[in-house]
């Protein structure tokens, strides 16, 4: 699967395009391997991810190191304003936890955590639907816009290329968290080889293989 297909698919899952990567702002320290989050934050992210994809008879998000991955991805791949939304989301986890259960997020029972996150998921999906209604043109609209863009193009085309992430188009923080959980988990070695199936060197192609309930291919 190429990147474009991946983004499209993830957009389907979470109602928004893969977040990360549309800004010209960058980190100045090259070769970054450390992220911007405290170990306490990473624990929160791990717990959150484990609630979304728990360990069962197969490994879960913690086994795949999803919390660490999330921290690194947000630090390196998100734009500053996307990162702001994510930080706000981590703070919201605590605030919502306190408001509903008078408890730290980490101290919630698993039932409470499941209930809280289910609620956040519902809010995030509603937010994503509002965004997609506003942002996704029909093919006919897209083709008309394409023709007009070509006609109106000036030498200053760069500005239109680097679309800035306006407040209105930013995704819900929980969309970010869920997306990174799914992406981080299923592209990890544990997720791809122990929950899904992966064959490094297939050696042949069979386009009409019989399927009898095996796990999906990782890629």
């Amino acid at each position: 699967m190429n990147r474009r297909e991946l983004l499209k698919m993830i957009a389907l899952t979470t109602g928004t395009a893969m977040i990360g990567g549309k800004s010209l702002l960058a980190f100045s320290d090259t070769g970054r391997t450390r992220h911007l989050f405290s170990s306490r934050d990473v624990e929160r992210m791990s717990e959150l991810a484990e609630t979304i994809l728990p360990r069962t008879e197969t490994p879960g998000a913690k086994d795949a190191g999803v919390g660490e991955f999330m921290a690194l991805f947000v630090s390196d791949c998100y734009t500053p304003s996307e990162r702001e939304v994510f930080y706000f989301g981590l703070a919201q986890l605590e605030a919502r936890s306190r408001a509903a259960y008078e408890s730290d997020f980490m101290a919630l029972s698993s039932d409470q955590r499941l209930a809280l996150i289910t609620e956040l998921d519902r809010e995030a999906k509603a937010h994503a639907q509002r965004l997609s209604r506003r942002e996704q043109p029909t093919p006919a609209e897209a083709l008309t816009a394409e023709t007009q863009t070509a006609q109106n193009q000036t030498a200053d085309t760069q500005s239109s290329l680097n679309h800035t992430d306006s407040e209105a188009s930013l995704p819900h923080y929980f969309t970010m968290m869920k997306q990174l959980t799914l992406f981080g988990f299923f592209t990890s070695e544990v997720g791809a080889t122990e929950v899904l199936r992966y064959e490094a060197v297939p050696g042949r192609y069979d386009g009409c293989a019989t399927y009898q309930g095996e796990p999906a291919w990782a890629t």
Binding site: L114, T118, F186, T187, A192
Partner: protein, 562 residues
């Protein structure tokens, strides 16, 4: 004879340059192959070839730092962790966009032969005749029959997998067994065949991935990893490194010089011949002269024309080949990302094994025969069917063990395709030297001014609607039209700017790819194209190159090039 003299110089080591080097050396000429970027050794330098998704810190997604360094590449999928460093450094190699133009360049040995889509189709007889029939631009100086034996020749060596279909619109070639269609694609093919009365066809894509080993080339057949872009350790897809370079090296006639930026063709105005090229060492900035009896320019479409524009400017202000008034003009690409996708019911007891570097192809069916749409020319579709994976939406499941369980199983079948449309040659679509912006070697950069015109915009409406109609006629459900982001260049099929023709006042090259004003200079990369067809162009560059070398060597023997 000085150390700096060769029988032939080839500028550029990508698909066409590799072919030129192979053919010239095999015919006994001492050849200097110049590459502006670094060397990449086959297999040894494919550092990521055995990495998996989880070996990349950001799982192959671009970081903000990468995005800042690659303001053009970031516009599409090529910016990723796996192929980072395989595309030209945009900071060191600037260009000016008068209009948006996505120029994705490979500045290293092998060029974009390491990073190509490998779809390999012949132009049809109609493609070579369309300009003349419709009164567009100028006539090609050759016909399909001129190139057919050379298509045969390059297909046999490169190794193209595919099926013979007997279609006028997409001539058959010398194919290896195809990479199979999966069972859903086979069924959709049958339904399309019957729904459109045998006038539209879904066939195997034809790709330069070998399905049988080529031991004489030390190449192993495709292992179905679908990791071509990381460099194939099996040599299963055609690239300079896997195929043409080893053949050239084996002759003992090849000298390879990486980090060699050709700044101009050295022109002898008394003899009206090139006497060689000037090279700037990319690392030391030292300037060298190399002389030769014949020069092949294969620096990639725009850079080949850049070299011509920067050559013989004391004779022609606009450079070598500019006497035609067409040098730099008639830029073409293939416009794409207009298509459709949908769901296929059933087949839940079927899956696949292995990852194909291929899919299906639907050859052009518009404006064929007597049909006249509101636009001229046409488009073909590339696509595939597959079962959905973990990245699908499961509306009724939100979080928890049930979600994990459901996503660990394959979903239903989906099918999607995108059209690749022909772009007409238009004099106004052009590149030019921009002397106010210079790179680190003090060389002027290119300004690019290209846009889609009315014909392409009209065609794109059909590209979406026809895709919807094809899928719906095949019983596909929930069919959605799809228009993705496209800007000229994104097809990575730059063509034109030094076209072939019959008349030196309207073309840069003659029917043998010789520059009219310097017959010992040959241009056989995408710059030479007089029209673009709608099929992927690389196979045609290979055939044109082999044909031109054959002619060049004969002309050398006859003494006509000195």
């Amino acid at each position: 004879m000085s150390d700096n003299h060769y029988d032939a110089i080839v500028v550029g080591s990508g698909i066409s340059g590799g072919w030129a080097a192979k053919e010239l050396t095999e015919k006994g000429l001492k050849v200097l192959l110049l590459e502006r970027g670094r060397n990449i050794e086959h297999v040894k330098d494919y550092h990521n070839a055995h990495k998996e998704a989880w070996d990349y810190p950001h799982r192959n997604e671009p970081t903000q730092e990468m995005i800042a360094e690659y303001p053009v590449l970031k516009r599409d999928y090529p910016l990723n962790e796996a192929t980072l460093g395989m595309w030209a450094d945009e900071q060191a190699n600037p260009y000016v966009e008068e209009k948006r133009f996505d120029w994705f360049r490979g500045y290293h040995l092998g060029g974009r032969s390491l990073l190509w889509g490998r779809q390999s189709y012949r132009f049809s007889p109609m493609d070579f005749e369309a300009n003349q029939r419709e009164g567009i631009a100028i006539d090609w100086p050759i016909r399909y029959e001129d190139l057919a034996p050379w298509y045969d020749y390059v297909e046999r060596f490169a190794g193209i997998s595919g099926t013979r279909e007997g279609l006028d619109i997409l001539p058959d070639g010398e194919f290896l067994p195809p990479i199979p269609l999966n069972c859903v694609e086979q069924e959709v093919a049958k339904r399309i065949e019957s729904a459109f009365g045998g006038q539209r066809h879904l066939i195997h894509s034809r790709v330069a991935n070998i399905t049988q080993p080529k031991p004489e080339q030390n190449r192993v057949n495709c292992q179905y990893r679908n990791k071509c872009w990381l460099g194939c350790p099996y040599g299963a897809y055609f690239s300079t490194q896997s195929a043409t370079l080893p053949a050239a090296v084996a002759t003992g006639n090849l000298t390879l010089r990486p980090f060699s930026i050709v700044s101009q063709v050295l022109y002898d105005k008394d003899r009206q011949r090139a006497r060689g090229v000037e090279v700037i060492d990319a690392e030391t900035h030292d300037v060298h002269e190399y002389t030769a009896d014949v020069v092949f320019l294969n620096a990639s479409t725009f850079n080949t024309t850049w070299i011509l524009m920067n050559s013989a400017t004391d004779v022609w202000e606009g450079g070598l080949g500019s006497s035609s008034g067409e040098l730099g003009h008639n830029v073409m690409d293939h416009h794409f990302r207009c298509g459709a996708s949908g769901d296929v019911e059933g087949y839940l007891d079927k899956y696949y094994f292995g990852r194909r570097p291929a899919g299906f192809y639907i050859p052009r069916f518009r404006n064929v025969g007597d049909e006249q749409r509101s636009y001229v020319r046409g488009f073909g579709y590339q696509g595939a069917a597959s079962r959905q994976g973990w990245d699908r939406e499961i509306a009724e499941l939100n979080i928890g063990a049930d979600l994990k369980q459901a996503l660990s199983q394959p979903g239903g079948w989906t099918i999607g395709m995108t059209g690749f449309g022909e772009m007409l040659p238009d004099h106004d679509n052009r590149i030019a030297l921009n002397h106010s912006v210079r790179d680190q070697w003090g060389l002027p950069v290119l300004s690019i001014n290209v846009e889609l015109k009315q014909n392409e915009h009209a065609m794109r409406r059909d590209m979406v609607q026809d895709a919807i109609d094809l899928l719906e006629a095949a019983g596909v459900k929930n069919v959605k039209g799809d228009v993705g982001d496209y800007a000229p260049g994104m097809g990575i099929h730059e063509m034109g700017t030094a076209r072939m023709g019959r008349d030196p006042t309207t073309s840069v090259l003659n029917r043998h790819n010789q520059v009219w004003d310097a017959p010992n200079v040959f241009v056989t990369d995408g710059a030479c194209m007089t029209s673009s067809s709608c099929v992927n162009p690389s196979l045609t560059y290979m055939a044109l190159t082999a044909r031109a070398v054959d002619y060049a060597v004969e002309e050398l023997k006859r003494g006509n090039l000195s």
